[in-house]
């Protein structure tokens, strides 16, 4: 199986208190200040890579690669390190579509990814269900729409049925849902696909116990990551419509939380809940 995993470098949410918006006209800032922030791979994308690797290997020792996983990102050269990290954990190839954040919105990224899909020719696109920076969870669904492929979002378990279809358990609003999907397809994943039983895929026996979570990059693989192909494409060369459909007018940080108050009596609490918070 050939799998494409779109992968994003995101600002570390642990640094949320460092996010600064310079003040501009009418109180809105022109952009979010990123200097001094720390970046890391989007964790949901790491789960997608883990799932993709499990779907393309014999997981029992000695491990054998049986398919191909390509990771792709849209961004600047600083994202190369993120791609190399994915290559070190086991992905086979990487593609970076050169672009700066200001040139991008979700729709452009989805259009660029659709072009990459056409060039790479995967049977499956696996994505994180969302990125932890903007949390919009739209890239996967938009990409599926552009490709005209079936999609399953919020996957927590994937079974490769071996006949060109996947049985996917997804987290729905009212409980879990099992969906059979024919390849090629787009699937977005939650953290639980990286748990021990998150992926079942022959020839790895169903009894094989993977360690919970994302695998470690073995040291020799880290050294070899540099030798694996990392192709850089220009957004313009992909022939996608680069007109922004989202225009950012300005940014402002969320209002600071007000300090709490201590109430003296239950009556006072009820009164405040009713009249101030309007919660009851």
């Amino acid at each position: 199986m050939k799998i494409l995993v779109p992968f994003k470098r995101v600002a570390d949410p642990e640094n949320a208190n460092k996010v600064k918006v310079p003040v501009g006209a009418n109180g809105l800032g022109p952009k979010i200040e990123t200097t001094g922030m720390e970046f890391k791979p989007n964790p949901f994308d790491e789960y997608a890579v883990e799932a993709a690797l499990r779907l393309t290997e014999n997981g029992t020792a000695p491990k054998a690669r049986l398919g191909e996983v390509t990771v792709v990102t849209v961004g600047g050269p600083e994202a190369d390190q993120t791609l190399r990290g994915a290559l070190a954990t086991g992905a086979d190839k990487a593609v970076r579509v050169e672009a700066t954040d200001e040139q991008l919105d979700g729709a452009i990224i989805a259009r660029a990814l659709a072009k990459v899909v056409a060039q790479v020719g995967p049977d499956l696109v696996l994505l994180g269900k969302q990125t932890v920076d903007t949390d919009s969870a739209q890239t996967g669904p938009m990409l599926a729409e552009l490709l005209g492929w079936p999609q399953v979002t919020f996957a927590v378990q994937i079974t490769n049925e071996g006949n060109g279809s996947l049985l996917v358990t997804r987290n729905g609003d009212g409980g879990v849902q099992k969906v059979r999907v024919k390849l090629p397809a787009v699937v977005t994943v939650e953290d639980r696909v990286s748990y021990s039983g998150g992926v079942t895929s022959p020839p790895t026996p169903a009894t094989h116990k993977y360690a919970d979570g994302v695998r470690f990059a073995p040291l020799p693989a880290i050294m070899q990551a540099k030798k694996k192909p990392l192709e850089v494409k220009k957004l313009a060369d992909l022939g996608v419509d680069t007109a922004l459909s989202v225009k950012y007018l300005g940014f402002e940080p969320p209002p600071a939380r007000k300090a709490g108050v201590k109430v003296k009596t239950v009556a006072e609490l009820v009164d405040k809940l009713k009249n101030e918070a309007k919660a009851i």
Binding site: F216, A217, I222, K226
Partner: protein
């Protein structure tokens, strides 16, 4: 609290490591060069990140379990604590123990500086576990350096990659510090192998259930060889016999585990009493092809092992400090001293109390200082390997500094480790003394570091007896010259100046004491030498650390000036403030004692040896 046992308590300071490696000691200058051709900054950082994750996720959760369970001896076989066997598999599968191994033996040939950084994480997360692969690695290095071609082919891949374990067997009941008293004998057989017979004591990793075989490196005396260290030879003695043609492990080789020690710490590491040839069925192979070279062979390997022990000290001390720091920020007790008369004043975190702050900064400056010393040493080793063959003067200089600094790293690093762990317990108060927090284990684990791999007095004697005069004294002269150069360049610095003056005083004091030691040697006044050696080692270590901390502070000051304003630079600014404070504290609170110690030594007090033993206690 048993449900919490499997929790990681290990903490590391990655920012300080990155500072030392790249900002202070500039490892980037040798990356991509000579033996480190395949290595760049990006690889370094990726490996460091992944190693840290391995330490925290795999090794850390087993540290307390290993301590509580300890090892079991059942029917002659040692069983390590739960999870150790799987972890042995994982550490080799991940390639972590072949980081510094040459590519020739399928390793990654990384700079020692990186190996040291990775080892700090792993030893700090689980000291006892890391003993097993550590000894296997050390034993393999001996074979790589002195073995014949056939021996290298037979042993190295398997020992470097975890198929086989390995140990170092020097100590015997009557031969501890006095290695030359070893009585284990080797008798040559017609097939060129040797029959081995004897008892070895305190053998770390002497048995375990991780690997298909264990290769013991045994110091023994060939029948008829001279007494003392001159008559010792080194043998590989496997737990299971090895087929010389195929290299396969076969029947048991009459190496029996007669017992395991019940210890104060590192309980997850088996410490074995081994009998070789109890039933006359134990064979060994001479390492290399000449007898009576055992001691020089072992000596050559001791640098690596001694650096490793100093590093164990740093690793444990660092996580003890960082845990104590975290606790001190949370635990509330008592009001600020500003309101000491006001019973209703708000309670503050204990980290707000001056004495707790003092302990925190004391630990911080020592931990960061010892880390600087170890990375400096590793950087000299890397500098040596890159210079070798194209700049002989530089190579000689770097290698000389490695030799000189090894006893400082081993002895000062291990002595301080125990003391820093003790301060960490004191910082916690009562809970630090309980098993609910990790520091009491750290303290127990750390005590062995000053004892094994040559007690710290043996290190001190190595420093004053061998290292000071090595290369005609050139190593010491270069060291003193390096410190002097820094002093001359910085003693007028507006911020650093007063602190550098303390360094200058210490520098002069060690120069003077080194001369005094030389005088004692020349005058045959030997009784003062062992009395002064430990103290001199401490003086020299503190001077070296003071120098490196101040050098770091200089870089911190210069870099701070270039940081962006406001929040963007806030984290770095806080880090550099800490760097300056650690240097200032060490300069004003530790360095002045160096001169005092020199004055004490100048009084040539010999009362410990003058007092007859019957007067120590007379009843």
């Amino acid at each position: 609290m048993s449900q919490d046992l499997a929790q990681n308590r290990y903490k590391a300071d990655l920012r300080d490591i990155r500072f030392l490696v790249f900002e202070q000691f500039k490892l980037q200058d040798v990356l991509g060069k000579g033996p480190y051709e395949a290595w760049g900054v990006e690889e370094f950082n990726m490996v460091m990140g992944e190693a840290h994750r391995f330490a925290v996720e795999v090794l850390g959760p087993l540290n307390a379990i290993g301590d509580r369970q300890g090892c079991r001896l059942e029917n002659g076989q040692v069983f390590a604590p739960a999870g150790f066997k799987e972890t042995w598999g994982k550490i080799y599968e991940g390639g972590w123990k072949t980081l510094g191994v040459k590519t020739e033996w399928d390793g990654q040939q990384a700079p020692l500086t990186l190996a040291v950084v990775v080892e700090e994480f792993m030893s700090g997360a689980n000291t006892a576990f890391m003993m097993y692969p550590g000894l296997a690695h050390g034993a393999a290095e001996v074979i790589e350096t002195f073995g014949t071609h056939a021996q290298k082919e037979r042993y190295l891949r398997k020992m470097y990659h975890g198929t086989w374990g390995g140990t170092m067997c020097l100590t015997e009941p009557q031969a501890g510090s006095d290695v030359g008293a070893a009585r284990t004998v080797a008798k040559k057989r017609p097939d060129g192998l040797y029959d081995i017979k004897g008892t070895k004591l305190f053998i770390s990793g002497g048995d375990h259930d991780f690997a298909e075989n264990i290769v013991h490196l045994v110091l023994a005396r060939v029948e008829g060889a001279p007494a003392g260290t001159k008559g010792l030879s080194l043998f590989t003695v496997p737990k299971r016999r090895i087929d010389m043609a195929t290299g396969a492990s076969g029947e048991l080789n009459d190496v029996t585990v007669a017992g395991i020690e019940h210890k104060m710490g590192i309980n997850g590491s088996s410490t074995c009493l081994l009998n070789f040839g109890e039933n006359d069925g134990c064979v060994g192979e001479l390492v290399g092809d000449a007898e009576n070279h055992g001691m020089p062979q072992m000596f050559k390997m001791m640098n690596g092992a001694r650096i490793g022990v100093g590093l164990q000290g740093l690793a444990v001390a660092s996580t003890a400090y960082l845990n104590a720091l975290e606790y001190a920020k949370e635990r509330r007790q008592g009001p600020s001293i500003r309101f000491w008369k006001d019973a209703t004043a708000p309670r503050v975190a204990i980290a707000e109390h001056a004495d707790v702050r003092r302990m925190l900064l004391d630990m911080k400056s020592r931990v960061e200082g010892i880390r600087a010393l170890i990375i400096k040493l590793a950087r000299h080793q890397d500098g040596y390997l890159v210079a070798k063959g194209n700049d002989e003067a530089a190579a000689t200089y770097h290698l000389g500094q490695v030799d000189l600094l090894v006893p400082l790293v081993k002895a000062y690093g291990s002595d301080q480790s125990f003391r820093i762990c003790e301060t960490a317990i004191q910082t916690y108060g009562g809970v630090g003394y309980t098993k609910d927090y990790p520091v009491e284990q750290y303290c127990r684990d750390s005590k062995i570091f000053s004892i094994y791999e040559g007690t710290n007095h043996i290190q001190a004697m190595d420093l004053v007896g061998r290292k000071l005069g090595q290369n005609g004294g050139a190593n010491l002269q270069s060291f003193l010259g390096d410190v002097q150069k820094f002093i001359s360049e910085n003693d007028a610095h507006p911020v650093l100046g007063p602190w550098v003056k303390e360094l200058a005083v210490a520098h002069e004091a060690i120069g003077g004491t080194a001369m005094r030691l030389l005088g004692w040697f020349q005058m045959g006044q030997m009784s003062m030498v062992p009395l002064a050696a430990n103290r001199f080692l401490e003086m020299m270590s503190e001077t070296a650390i003071g120098w490196l901390l101040l050098e770091g502070a200089r870089i911190a000051i210069d870099t701070q000036a270039k940081l962006p304003e406001g929040d963007a630079g806030a984290k770095d600014r806080a880090y550099y403030e800490g760097k300056k404070a650690a240097a200032k504290y060490f300069a004003l609170n530790v360095l002045p004692a160096v001169k005092l110690k020199a004055e004490i030594l100048a009084r040539e007090d010999t009362s410990p040896v003058d007092l007859p033993l019957e007067s120590f206690v007379s009843e």
